[in-house]
Amino acid sequence: MSTVTAIIKRELRSYFATPIAYVFIVIFLIMSGVFAFYLGNLYERGQADLMPFFNFHPWLYLFLVPAVAMRLWSEERNSGNIELLMTLPVKKMDWVLGKFLAAWLFIALALLLTFPMVISINYLGNPDNGVILASYFGSLLLAGGFLAIGSCISAATKNQVIAFILTVVICFLFLLAGFPMVLNFFKLFLPQVLVDAVASTSFLTHFESITKGVLDLGDLSYFALMMAVWLYATGVVIDMKKGS
């Protein structure tokens, strides 16, 4: 466990060694504010909740999380550093986990910095802070899901741009899977059971159910399973690709 902690610390320090981390946080804060107030009409709705704020998180994450995830592994492979990492007496999954957790913590920090939202809405009215807390939790899980996908794609290519684009596409598919448009398409040739299965793989359905304030075990285990599967896949991809 101490190695995982050391990896997390090193990764976080390296994020803040360059301006990229600050740029990311500023963009995240500005965009989430812009979406909530201008597109979501947070004020005009006249309701004391943060739905307009959280509703845009999946779309915000769709581009920002792959930007964080793209360098996780592709940079290590590109610089040849992976040879160093994989010959240290450390388990491969410690690296996968450490790098993932560091990136997740970083996004959590950005998310935490949106706290003025919560203060404002409490000042303006009497929101259900339980729902807000659950929504934050859901938002973090969603980011974790995207990040795990990004980690795996990043391990598959040395090129960060390719990693970014592929991650956006795959995350987009996982978001879309819950949309009626997509489900109707699958209904054309799949039995209902499988259509339901497709629907249940959507990030969106599970995220929305959490932001309603219901912490359902199904939703939680969906995100946990999603992350576990993609992180395991990261390990497999690293083994497949490290020689090339």
Partner: protein
Amino acid sequence: MIECLNLTKQFGHFTAVDDLTFTANQGQVLGFLGPNGAGKSTTMKMITGFLEPTSGQIKVCGHDIAKNPLLCKDKIGYLPEGAPSYGEMEVGDFLYFVAKMRGIAANEQKNAVESVIERVNLANVYYQDIDTLSKGFKRRVGLAQAIIHNPEVLIMDEPTDGLDPNQKHQVRELIINMSKEKTIILSTHILEEVHAVFDRAIIIADGQLVADNTPKELEKQSRYNHAVSFVTELDTGLLNEIKALDCVRDVAYDARLKETTVFPSQGLFIFDDISQFLKSRSVKVNSLKMESGRLDEVFRNITQDSREREVVK
């Protein structure tokens, strides 16, 4: 100690390492020689546990790396080709990080880092970002991380590649100083290094082991071994006379250097004969010397032989 048994690595249909068997002993610097793409780096990557062999077995200090990868990695220090590291980190931070990952106890980390900084001479750049360092310093940082845990086995992929002569000298000194209590494997294609550092050299060509010997013995395979050369004006009659001597196999004349080289018949020592012969004919000679074998020639012969064999196949 490192034992490799029938080591083979295939990438798709390409065989990078082909049935390699050798042992590296403690207290010995074992050198990998071979043309580019011969499989030196791939072999090292397998020994360090980075790549899994397609078939064959590797034992590090008696432990099978396939069964005990972490234990084996713990005993090995590895300097990969090009000495990669985290460029955005400071030298000191990077070494502390490696110390932590190597599982060095918290109260010993400071000692380990300080001792390695001193040994590799990094004190002046302790607080500098690795990205901003010169090639020589970067290489030394790579070397520092490889020996920070005082490993029993040290594996270095072209440790002196791209360094200036002074830096090369430093790195070699360091290697020789460590060689007594460690098993060291290093690859190079700088042949001058072979004499300076290696106790034993393995020549690999097209993934196969084509020679395994001490540098001295390898040199003996050269036709230049015990050859005698002297500088004088060209005199064809004289050359023919020398060539006719019993102990002489062949004579070569280099017009640019005005140097005549006399090759002895198998294993004979002809310096005295030639010198007496020249004296008896009172030939005016500018310099007269005995050649030692030329490694580059042996290297070329051995590795090209294997190329040709490949073509015949």
